[in-house]
Symmetry: C2
Subunit: 338 residues, 2 copies
DNA sequence: TTGTACGCGTTATCAT
DNA sequence: ATGATAACGCGTACAA
């Protein structure tokens, strides 16, 4: 690569000091308007570009933020990231995205890489790993700004941005009950994660509140994959008393459920209603569009970024933990509109 | 954030020089096994972590690579990125992903930001912008390692990794002809981009080679969106002689086409066959699965990264431009299986 | 208002 | 085999 022009080059050209140039470029008060103008002028002419590395080394800030997500090819996470970018780019930050693929070792590795790259903070949606809290403890210890979004972990002093998963699940099940469904099954997911625990709780409470009995057999955990959705739904449909509705904690398993229900010659929503979770784009454009819960991911991203910015600004002050909870929105489509 | 331990700290503790410590940690030949062992030992004890910023400032390498894509929430680009990561992470590089949303100004802005962040290279799939070659010219001038993937631009000395779009289109249309289709329309896209030009050429040539007349009216350009696919397909179906097949240069417009065909009461594939492009996951899991072209995105990502690594390694040597072209794979599903 | 001088953490080039 | 020193490019207290 070609050599870049530094403040020294432009200082030399103007018979000034690098210090003066630096000040002029940073709009320091105590510089004459003339020199400032002159410096900026020639900086432009010489195609000067600040070396962020040097600035970072000096200031201790890299202006890089690490974002860690299970994966980035789901619309939900991609949208959250976009929200984060929208908020952070104008402030001069860069965003480094890492994927964990829900693997604990990758998560740990990514976090360490990010720390090593001197990121100014980490915004993370945790993987399914259950109990290795040590990585996060060490982050806490090192006082690296840390914000959770969507998939959080309860930690003293750490802010988080999530949606009200309990409420989302509750409203979905309430809606199914309103449609006349009597036996509502639940496709759950790893309940060591708070979001899936909350969706489960919302499901359960909605049933109880409306006079239904809660049947443990109608709840099954599985991974967020189409095939898994099919597999479990097959079990449901082969029960003596098959369910007449499925509330799925994932759009992907909801899709699998729909495929399996059709394969069994049953009609949706007449025989079985289905509601998913996340409002992935495909739920809208299927022939049989899928009811689901929207999580306003862009907003979630923006708020996560804002929380980070506040935390950075109030550096030394008393840390005030923020716990932001967004309202989910039930979107009713064909799969549950009787 | 807490202060990190530096090589000075560990030098002080061992009554050594920072230089020695540095050498020991970097496995320099001319260091006694004892001191090396000792240094590494205490480095571990003191939780030493190399400051990559300082190393970058010194070496002129940031070990960051910029990846620029139109968007990252399509499976194709997400997969390419994953391939890039798989190849680059083990080599100690980090990947900074930027989205252009197909907007010229964002593309330019992102590139400049990446340069400013001192990335060691840029891997890019260009946006639709047509003629502002200046950004790339300036990259060329600055001798920043640059690799194109998928959406390339013809530039002297710049390597690229693409698939054979011409061949992909050709085989798709050949397949439609084999199914007995007589009037094959083409949903095209911005043909200032090479990939769409090539798909158009493959379509045209396949028709000609099999004795069909090429009808300009059966080719329409539109954006890669479901709604656009519907809109154009509506026009097709209202023709006096409607087409009996649609080859779409995008899976999304193919989906729109399918929706519209159904809305017109026609059957797929009996009345109209449809083939898309990219092998997005939804093409597989639709009730009416969609025939498409697979672009082996992960492989594309890996090769792009490899090409970059080679370019970096052979720094000062004669640049040898690589033009890698992958073979596309036609995947036949229900939407075109008569 | 501007210059001087130093430090951020590393590595590379001399010496020793 | 190790030490001393300079340099990467920038920002900033201190001095002038």
């Amino acid at each position: 690569m070609k050599k870049k022009t530094t403040i020294y080059d432009i200082a030399a050209k103007l018979n000034l000091t690098a210090a003066t140039v630096s000040r002029a470029l940073n709009n320091n008060e105590k510089i004459s308007k003339n020199t400032r103008k002159l410096v900026k002028q020639t900086a432009l002419e010489m195609n000067y570009e600040q070396n962020t590395l040097a600035r970072a080394l000096k200031s201790g800030k890299s202006f890089n933020v690490g974002v860690v997500v299970p994966r980035m090819d789901s619309n939900f996470f991609a949208s959250v990231i976009r929200g984060i970018e929208e908020e952070l780019y104008p402030k001069g930050y860069h965003v480094i995205v890492c994927q964990t693929h829900d693997q604990e070792n990758l998560e740990t590795g990514n976090i360490n890489s990010l720390l090593n790259a001197q990121v100014d903070g980490i915004l993370i949606s945790i993987s399914k790993s259950n109990d290795n809290t040590n990585v996060f403890d060490s982050l806490l210890e090192k006082q690296v700004p840390l914000i959770f979004f969507d998939r959080k972990r309860d930690m003293e002093g750490i802010s988080s941005v999530t949606i009200d998963d309990y409420q989302g699940a509750y409203s979905a099940v309430k809606h199914l009950i309103d449609q006349g469904c009597k036996r509502i099954a639940h496709l759950s997911n790893d309940r060591t994660l708070e979001i899936f625990r909350d969706r489960y709780r919302g499901y359960k409470q909605a049933l109880i509140d409306h006079g239904f009995e809660f049947d443990e057999n109608l709840v099954v955990e599985c991974a967020s994959k189409i095939e898994e959705g099919r597999r479990i739904t097959k079990q449901f449909l082969e029960m003596d008393q098959r369910p007449d509705a499925i509330f799925s904690s994932s759009d992907f398993t909801a899709l699998g459920a729909i495929q399996e229900i059709k394969a069994h010659g049953l009609n949706i929503p007449q025989d079985v209603c289905v509601v998913g979770f996340s409002n992935e784009p495909f739920t809208r454009f299927m022939d049989l569009s899928i009811s689901t819960i929207d999580q306003s991911p862009i907003e979630m991203g923006r708020l996560t970024a804002k929380t980070f910015l506040e935390e950075v600004k109030s550096k030394k002050k008393i840390k005030n933990q923020q716990t932001i909870i967004l309202e989910p929105e039930l979107i009713i489509r064909k799969s549950s509109s009787r």
